[in-house]
Amino acid sequence: METIFSLLVGAFFAASIYLMLSRKLVRVLMGVAILGNAVNLLIFTSGRLLREIPPIIPLGEYLPLETTANPLPQALVLTAIVISFSFFAFFLVLGYRAYQELGTDDMLEMRVAEPENEVEPPLGY
């Protein structure tokens, strides 16, 4: 079961990386969104999969009556989802502002920090 889901996680990663490598801002953004899902699913799967039984103790009991899904990766992933969302939002706004200021959505044309023809550094003291 984990084997098949591992392959699915691989597919998520592959899609995300393929998108991030393209030069268009929007595709990169979507790549980031998928990357978040890929990583979350990776953590979730590595904690082993178990069908349908949530880690909740029934009312009046002190321990779960049967083996439940692993609660630890769930706790990790829960916060990771929210954080990857806020990261995505930040990245989105960054890209949006960059597009507004630079007038392009092509990664290769965003050359403010590292201009195309950089001058030689000054020699001497």
Binding site: T3, L7, A38, R51, F85, F90
Partner: protein, 790 residues
Amino acid sequence: MPLSGNEATVWALLLPFAAAALGPVLTHRLKHNAAWILAVFPAFIFIHFLSYVPMVAAGQTFTVSYEWIPTFGITFSFYIDGLSTLFALLVSGIGTLVVLYAGGYLKGHTQQGIFFTYLLLFMGAMLGVVTADNMITLFVYWELTSITSFLLIGFDHLRTASRRSALQALVVTGAGGMALLAGFLLVYLASGTWQMSELLTNPDVLRSSSLYLPIFILICLGAFTKSAQFPFHFWLPNAMEAPTPVSAYLHSATMVKAGVYLLMRMQPVMGGTEIWMTVLPFFGGLTLVIGTYLGLRQTDLKLILAYTTVASLGLLVMLTGSSSPHAIQGAVLYLFAHSLFKGGLFMAAGTVDHEAGTRDIRKLGGLRHAMPITFSATVLAALSMAGLPPLFGFVAKEVLYDGLWHAHSGGIFWAFTGVVGNSMMFALAAIVAIKPFLGPKVETPKHAHEGPLMLYAGPVVLSVAGLIAGLFVASTGEWLVNPMTSAIAGHSVTKELHLIPAHINAALFLSLLTIALGSTLFYFSDQLRSFVDRTLKIIGWGPDKGFDQFINATVRLSAFVTRTVQTGDMVMYMRAAFIALIFTLYTPMIITGSWPSLSQFELVTLTEAGIIAVALVGLYAVLTAKNRVTAMVSLGISGFSVAVIYLLFGAPDLSFTQFMVETLSVVILALVMTRLNLQPSDSRSVASKLLDSSLATLTGLGFALTLMSVTQQPFDASLSEFFTAFSRTIAHGRNIVNVILVDFRGFDTIGEISVVMVTGLCVLALIRVRPVSSKNNEETTTQIKQEAKS
């Protein structure tokens, strides 16, 4: 605070740093007269170390130690013996005079306060070097002297030459410092101690170690760079760009002797070997001859003195390398004498420059009437430098000739080298003393007259000290010279010193030869100068030019590396990152051969297969989407399918969160895409699409395989079991995931909500911070919008 005692020493060693902090404040209030108050600090330290003299002369040593980094056995500790006492006395004594001198020399300079700060910081560092016991403490102080020297040489930072010299001194001595640190680390490996004092009690541990050769090379690199030995001599004459008080103090009397100090300190544990007694005299002798030879060419008083300083340092290294008690005593005497006369001469030269307006000996002459006090002091100091009786320099030269003559091998050769160097030194001393002051009066740029007390106090005190030390040489020897000689030789040396040689010996003869040769050289000094000039023109390239080429080459190399590595091509950066990631993912599996087995293939239910298929279709649709709506809808589909997977595998919390987040993501992505009118079409060439897709596939497969390997390993559920077992019983919650979040791992959650909070602030800042003009637009649009709504 008591005047003596070991705790007081620590306070005394910290005192210059306190004075350094006071420098600018006092100077702001009292102008140049602040020097009188600031000079009290080094004077106090001088008196403190003076109180050690009788005890040290009686053969006692002292250590003070404070814990610093106990894990590594590193302490903040000090060791007082004959060697450190004399050095500390020179540093603090000359320091007192130099502070006063700086008060007069830089009178009215707007930056005088900060100059005092640098100078006193240096003093503190130098005192630390000569008293440090722990090698790391020593190293820290050693580097601090390099840094303060950099600041002082570059004090006049508006001039290019100053900046160049400062950088040069820092690079050369700093690189040497690195070598020294490496050397100390090896010493620790070989001996197991960081303490000099412990090392001295076990003198053979280094000599018998297999690491001796690398230690020797590294320590020599540190010492040679600091003490300007050939081929690292070039930085010292360049350092004359610094104001004269700095030249007098750092670059003749104290800092440049740190390298000699180090060699002297290591002499008992490293000296006496074949390589020690060959390499040190060789480089020392070479430096002596080259230094004086180059000095003959100069017409600038300070440069002449600088080259003779280089030569003197060479002489000291040569003597230290001889390892015989005689030669070492010569070294100690010469070091002591040199600090007195060279410090005095530098200050006198500075006074001439200050009052007459030039330091060029061709433009000076007949100043003896205008500056009688400076003249007398210069003559006294120059006599000592030339090695004439009854001055201290004379005694030093007698003893060092004696030591060289009796050197353990090749004595005649070393003595001859000494004579050649010393006779040129004699000629240079004559030039410095005679050219500016005797002869017909020459019109100088400024109307020359005697400087104020602050300017002549230093030269007078130092040259008179040279005279007194010479006249009462027996006492000087007993109290100061012999304790230091003993410390360097590693055993007690009690040779009495006499001003008048007891009997005719080789040394006296060599002295006479030096005087005769030196007078001849002085007589032909002008012809010599042009001769030296011509020979140097033939050689052309020197280490000084080499330094420029080295620096330029470094800058060009770094520019080249930057251009090659940081092309500014975002796609290339990401490809590089993912290629590195591919290596990380596959390497462990390739090396250990532990590929996941595909035999544990467990079938999934129909629902699961369906949702996997939906996710894959969603992903594929995102990749190939040509327009916004398709792209966003398919992105949503892939996200929601993840949410369904969470639901199917017992994670309702995750599922709900994923649903909400996915909805919001698509909404805000839609907002941005619509507003910017962006299309998700792919504009890559087929070739780069192929490359990117293979990179992506490889990485994805790498993650898949790694995850398979991980899940096929036995599972350690102890943490999860702990949380499950105690969720209800001690945390009173039945939703284990929530209990982990808000109770068991609450601190993590605090961190995470802080991240969310900071992201919110960043987004706000990104949106709000704009150029002023567009901000006005924003306000008007908001107003229009509000009006439209209402």
